[in-house]
């Protein structure tokens, strides 16, 4: 049945529980059945098959995960104080320390070890040196272990110090601190199937082995031996010590700590041992393929198979690791749990011999041989030789066990001469020996048994004594019990009385309207009556044992209350009628009257406090309201400057306030009687005052103004208002009222009236028409001029006068008015208004009025009759327009004339030139022809004709140029001045040669200019330079350009920023006086006589005009007899 369960688990989880202790497994299954309320195992099996979830649960159940921090304190103490320092000591400071916690469950074990290491932090140095591998079969528990969160109960056994250092509290529990967590690595791992961790210094596997059967335990331990370093530590749970023999050495038995004596080097043999018989090491290394065998080896094998005796190789724990030859005869699997132990598998008849031989071989490391062991086989007797040979040269200890069958002697030869059957003798001998062995064993057993029974006897004795002691104790208990019962009865009756008393008290408490509250010394609520809970909406159960301040969501945490309870009370012992005013969150404002008394109860060591709370909120509020209204009234009177007075009716006695006296100009302590008051009134008002008083009872209330004459002679206005106070039967008791000094108001009223009158007079007498509107824009006032103009009387409204506006102007005015009204802006308007059946032009200014308080108050509009002016100015405008037109026409005419003139001048000068040219030509032809008969006079006359004609030509040309130089002819092009000058110089070739002039011309810029005008400019300047040379001096002319600095430009009144070029044309000629600097540019202005120097006085004027039209400047610089320099300043670029 169990098998079937285990098979299901194997299928489902892949974990084979076959080798776990059946009793344990059975217990788990029964537990699950119990939980599910299933009676029979069959039913549970069915259930298990159908429910996958249950399979999982059972699996979890099988793997018990019970563990705690520092389980088995003593063991852990030893581990921490001895083992861990020893491990660390054996290591170099940088070596890694490896720890394996096998079966770590939810991680407590692993973390405990980590904590131990951390407690040796100084020795550890770097925590990353410590690697803790923690493994478990179950993924679920590993997940929990990784989280490292534990409930408080899990930490209960931990010392406070460890708790604080290694954990921190969070709502979900205690978290292990990261530095501990980081030391541990958690993994799902099956120690029976997965390859183990290696090179382990400390292996903790606690309470795992106990669930396993010995075979499995051994296997696991072998794995551990492999995993651990030599002398590595194994940390086991209690009662897990079996199967350790040979491999591990005890370090501390109590603590269950062992060291690995000798490391298991081959994991292979351990793991495969349970599945396939392992081959001998030497054999496995041999290649198996047939082809590669050489014949020698084949022969060896043959021999080995045939002649070498059968045998097995066993290890130190007698497990078979290799089979040699046919061992079937000697060795067979024994019934029960599968085992490779040779002693369990050996044929029964050989057991003792083998055990002995192996023991001897192991102990003495010698080969042991047993011969002729008789063995019965199928009815025949066989003799076996047994040899145990320790294998030398292997790392671990192995023993070769050889079996050899002694060949059967023929039956006849077995019978010796003396007739004794040798075989039988041998068998007898053997049996005797066996018997001897058995006896010895039996003896040893019986000795042991005797010793045990003795122990049992002594234990029995002990138990007997114990039993007696128990009996006496029981008797005592019975008598005590009776006493207790008696006491109990007494208490019961007392209790009943108490209940009655309490009911009585509580019924009183609960019927009282005032709240009662009982507090202990620490101000915790010990009780309260119903009134308290109801008044303050406090839940009774919540209040119990709470500190009073915390009641009702801490609403009672009132500073005044604290003061009272914590400071005043301890001194005075009791408090009476303490008024507590507080605004509660839920109850709102409350006025509470507190009385506190100390109560000394017999039972209680400490006195209790009885707090009686009386809610006087309403009466308190009422009182407050009365106070307040009285105060307000007084305040109102004071601020309004009102006096109060009262005249009792029957006897006319007056009582009055200080203020009232003040208004009368009396000191406050002066006596004032009714008669006195009457006397102070102006005579005319006295009767009225008396009448008012006598009529007061019939009237609701009265209000009259009276004049009083003060003692200093000043008259004041007094407003008296009041009403009669009637008694219960409606009989008047007195007249009471208030007084106010209204003199100022009266005066300002007066002033207002007179100023109003003033204004009307002013407005009416003004010749200007004035109208005023209110803030809504409706006109309400018109002065006399206005009314006269329109011819309308009073009662003239806004609509009326707007209707008087000329229909053409009305809508314009209205829209202007409306838009101005919106912004409250002043505006000017002109419109025609009806005046005696005709319309006249008015010019109006409307100004908004603002008063101090309300702001905009309306418009005041003043209009003047501008009809005549308007007509006049219209007429004027018309005239101006006419004139302008005439002027424009005239101008056009002039322009035409001008153009004609220009044309005329051009044509004329051109036509004038022609005859002159001819005169010139022919006279020069005449001169050329050197007629012998011509007199010198004739020649001279011809020359003069020539010269005059030539001058006239130049004059005409220059005039032509000057007049045609006009603004609109500007046609600026980028002009290379170098080319211009070269071109000009061609014209002067002849002259230059004649005068042997020396010209130096520098590099000139390209400027935006009219090329022809530039030619003209340079022509004139060069011509002058050549012309005005000094006699006998060779003319030197220099033309050079420099860039004008911004400062120079500014000095010439030119724009600072634009680029200018300065071209200087200088000569070494006659020069001129500086005082002529301006004159030279005037047209027809000459400095020299005509016969001295040729020229007509236009050239320089033209030059200046050209330069100016190029937005430049021409600056002469000269000294008489020292030459002349003309600086031409031209902008490089002309603006478009």
């Amino acid at each position: 049945m169990l098998k079937e369960f285990l098979n299901i688990l194997l299928e489902n989880t892949g974990v084979d529980f076959c080798d776990y202790k059946p009793t344990t497994l059975q217990r788990r299954i029964i537990r699950r059945m119990h939980l599910l309320d299933i009676a029979s195992e069959n039913d549970y099996l069915n259930y298990l098959l159908k429910h996958e979830q249950e399979q999982h649960l059972l699996y979890k159940e099988m793997l018990i995960h019970v563990t705690t921090f520092f389980r088995d304190e003593t063991s852990f103490d030893y581990l921490c104080s001895e083992v861990i320092p020893a491990i660390l000591k054996s290591k170099n400071p940088n070596d890694i320390v490896r720890i394996w916690v096998c079966g770590c469950a939810t991680g407590e074990e692993a973390y405990s070890i980590a904590i131990c290491f951390h407690e040796h932090l100084q020795q550890v140095g770097d925590l990353t040196r410590i690697k803790i591998f923690a493994s478990d079969l179950s993924e679920a528990v590993i997940a929990k272990a990784r989280k490292g969160v534990y409930p408080a109960t899990a930490l209960a056994k931990l010392s406070e110090a460890r708790k604080n250092v290694y954990f921190f509290q969070q709502p979900d529990g205690y978290h292990i601190r990261p530095f501990i967590r980081e030391m541990c690595t958690f993994a799902v791992h099956n120690v029976l199937q997965n390859p183990p961790f290696a090179n382990i210094d400390l292996l903790s596997c606690r309470n795992v082995l106990i669930y396993m059967q010995p075979v499995l335990q051994k296997k696991v331990l072998a794995t551990f031996s492999y995993s651990l370093r030599e002398n590595g530590y194994l940390f086991l749970g209690k009662s897990e010590t079996s199967g350790l023999a040979g491999k591990f050495e005890t370090v501390n038995k109590g603590a269950n700590i062992y060291t690995n004596r000798e490391r298991n080097t081959k994991l292979f043999s351990i793991h495969s041992a349970t599945k396939t018989p392992p081959a001998d090491m030497s054999h496995t290394e041999r290649p198996i393929s047939q082809e590669r065998k050489d014949f020698q080896r084949a022969a060896d094998e043959m021999l080995l198979a045939k002649y070498i005796p059968a045998g097995v190789v066993v290890n130190d724990s007698y497990d078979i690791v290799d089979f040699r030859g046919n061992t079937g005869f000697y060795i067979e699997p024994s019934p029960g749990i599968a085992s490779w132990n040779v002693l369990k598998m050996i044929r029964k008849g050989l057991y003792y011999d083998l055990q002995e031989a192996l023991g001897k071989a192991k102990a003495e490391r010698v080969s042991v041989r047993r011969e002729g062991i008789a063995l019965e086989h199928e009815g025949a007797l066989q003799r076996i030789n047994l040899e145990v040979q320790p294998l030398s040269g292997t790392k671990e200890k192995y023993y070769l066990v050889l079996f050899q069958q002694v060949p059967q002697a023929p039956a006849d030869s077995l019978v010796t001469d003396d007739g004794i059957n040798n075989t039988r003798d041998l068998r007898i001998h053997q049996l005797e020996q066996e018997l001897m062995h058995s006896r010895e064993q039996l003896r040893a057993l019986s000795e042991e048994q005797e010793a045990t029974s003795e122990e049992f006897q002594s234990a029995n004795e002990e138990l007997k004594t114990l039993n007696e002691e128990l009996q006496t104790s029981q008797e005592e208990l019975i008598s005590i019990n009776e006493e207790v019962t008696q006491r109990n009865k007494e208490l019961n009756s007392l209790n009943k009385e108490l209940v009655t008393a309490r009911n009585f008290a509580s019924s009183i408490n609960n019927t009282i309207n005032d709240s009662l509250l009982i507090l202990d010394k620490h101000l915790r609520v010990q009780g309260a009556n119903r009134a308290f809970y109801e008044t303050f909406h406090i839940n009774e159960t919540d209040a119990q044992d709470r500190v009073v301040y915390e009641l009702g969501n801490k609403q009672w945490n009132i500073p005044e209350l604290r003061q009272l309870l914590e400071q005043t009370l301890p001194e005075k012992k009791e408090v009476s009628d303490f008024l507590l005013k507080h605004k509660f969150e839920t109850l709102g404002y409350r006025a509470l009257l507190l009385n506190v008394r100390q109560m000394h109860l017999e039972a209680a060591a400490e006195p209790l406090l009885l707090v009686v709370i009386q809610d006087i909120t309403e009466s308190h509020e009422l009182q407050q309201a009365v106070h307040e209204s009285a105060f307000r009234l007084q305040f109102a009177f004071d601020t309004a400057g009102l006096g109060t007075w009262e005249v009792s009716l029957p006897d006319r006695t007056l009582s009055s306030s200080d203020r009232f006296k003040q208004t009368l100009g009396l000191p406050t302590d002066a006596p004032l009687t009714y008669e006195g008051l009457l006397a102070m009134l102006v005579e005319e008002d006295r009767a009225e005052f008396q009448e008012v008083l006598s009529l007061a009872p019939e009237q609701q209330r009265f209000s009259k103004e009276f004049r009083v004459l003060r003692a200093d002679g000043s008259q004041r206005w007094l407003a008296l208002s009041g009403m009669a106070r009637l008694g219960q039967q409606g009989t008047p008791i007195s007249v009471l009222g208030v007084s106010a000094d209204i003199t100022e108001r009266k005066r300002s009223e007066q002033k207002l009236r007179s100023s109003e009158q003033h204004f009307r007079l002013l407005a009416d007498s003004a010749p200007v028409m004035i109208a005023m509107s209110g803030e809504n824009g409706e006109f309400s006032f018109y002065n006399k001029s206005w009314l006269n103009f329109t011819g309308r009387g009073e009662g003239y409204t806004a609509a009326d006068w707007v209707q008087d506006i000329h229909p053409d102007d009305r809508s314009k005015y209205e829209s202007l008015f409306q838009s101005s009204l919106k912004t409250q802006a002043r505006f000017n308007a002109e419109f025609r208004l009806r005046h005696k059946g005709r319309y006249r032009w008015l010019s109006c200014i409307a100004v908004p009025r603002f008063n101090v308080k309300e702001g905009f108050d309306g418009y005041t509009m003043a209009c003047t009759d501008v009809h005549d002016q308007k007509l006049m100015s219209e007429a004027l405008e018309r005239k101006v327009e006419e004139r302008t037109e005439a002027l424009r026409d005239m101008n056009d005419e002039l322009l035409d004339k001008n153009r004609e003139l220009e044309q005329f001048a051009y044509v004329t000068s051109h036509d004038l030139q022609e005859p002159l040219r001819k005169i010139l030509m022919f006279s020069s032809v005449l001169l050329r022809k050197n007629e012998p008969e011509r007199s010198t006079h004739d020649a001279e006359y011809l020359t003069r004709i020539e010269q005059a004609a030539s001058r006239m030509i130049h004059l005409i040309q220059d005039l032509l140029n000057y007049s045609s130089l006009k603004e609109h002819t500007r046609d600026f092009l980028p002009t290379d001045l170098n080319k211009i000058v070269q071109h000009v110089l061609i014209d002067f070739d002849l002259l230059i040669q004649e005068k042997e002039a020396l010209l130096t011309i520098g590099s000139l810029p390209t400027v935006d200019a009219v090329p022809l005008q530039m030619t003209q400019l340079f022509y004139n300047l060069i011509s002058n330079a050549l012309k005005f040379s000094r006699l006998g001096v060779r003319p030197e002319i220099r033309i050079a350009a420099t860039e004008l600095t911004p400062d120079e430009a500014e000095a010439q009144g030119l724009k600072r920023d634009s680029g200018y070029s300065k071209i200087e044309v200088s000569d070494n000629g006659i020069g001129f006086d500086k005082s002529y600097s301006d004159r030279i540019f005037e047209i027809f202005q000459r400095l020299h006589a005509k016969d001295q120097y040729q020229g007509n006085g236009i050239g320089l004027a033209l030059c200046r005009k050209i330069v100016q039209s190029h937005r430049g400047a021409l600056i002469p610089h000269s000294e008489e007899g020292a030459g002349t320099t003309f600086a031409i300043i031209l902008p490089l670029k002309q603006d478009a």
Binding site: H910, Q913, E914, R917, K918, L920, M921, F922, S924, V925, R928, S950, I953, L1012
Partner: protein
């Protein structure tokens, strides 16, 4: 490019004085040249129309302002005549009007000289032009 010697010149000018002075000056500068004159475009056109192939003019001096047919009208006509289209035409005028001169040059005139104000200048001008044309041809 052998230097072609200018032998025959046609002067088209309505001003008889100018004709006379031109002749005088040419006599001084190039006594071996012969000058034929025409007083307006019509006359010049007739002359050129009937000029035999052998006696074609080497150069033509052409005034602008003339009665009947002016220089501007004549020039394209000359350029349209197969025999005369390669004859260099020198604009010879008192005109300052740039537009006119530009027009003439665009219509195929070789160059432009202003009528000089002195005999000496005229002689120089003629000599320069003739040399220039001869060397360019």
């Amino acid at each position: 490019m052998g230097r072609i010697k200018i032998k025959k010149i046609l002067l088209v000018d309505d001003d008889l004085d100018d004709q006379a002075i031109f002749k005088l000056a040419l006599e001084d500068v190039r006594p071996d040249c012969r000058v034929a004159t025409a007083s307006d475009g019509v006359e010049a056109y007739q002359e050129l129309l009937h000029t035999p192939e052998a006696t074609i003019y080497d150069i033509i001096f052409l005034d602008i302002n003339m009665p009947r047919m002016n220089g501007k009208e004549l020039l394209p006509k000359i350029k349209a005549m197969e025999r005369h289209r390669h004859v260099p035409i020198i604009v010879y005028s008192t005109s300052y009007a740039i537009e006119e001169i530009k027009y003439m040059l665009a219509a195929g005139a070789h160059t432009y000289i202003r009528k000089a104000h002195s005999y000496k200048q005229l002689c120089m001008d003629i000599s320069t032009i003739l040399n220039e044309v001869e060397s360019a041809s």
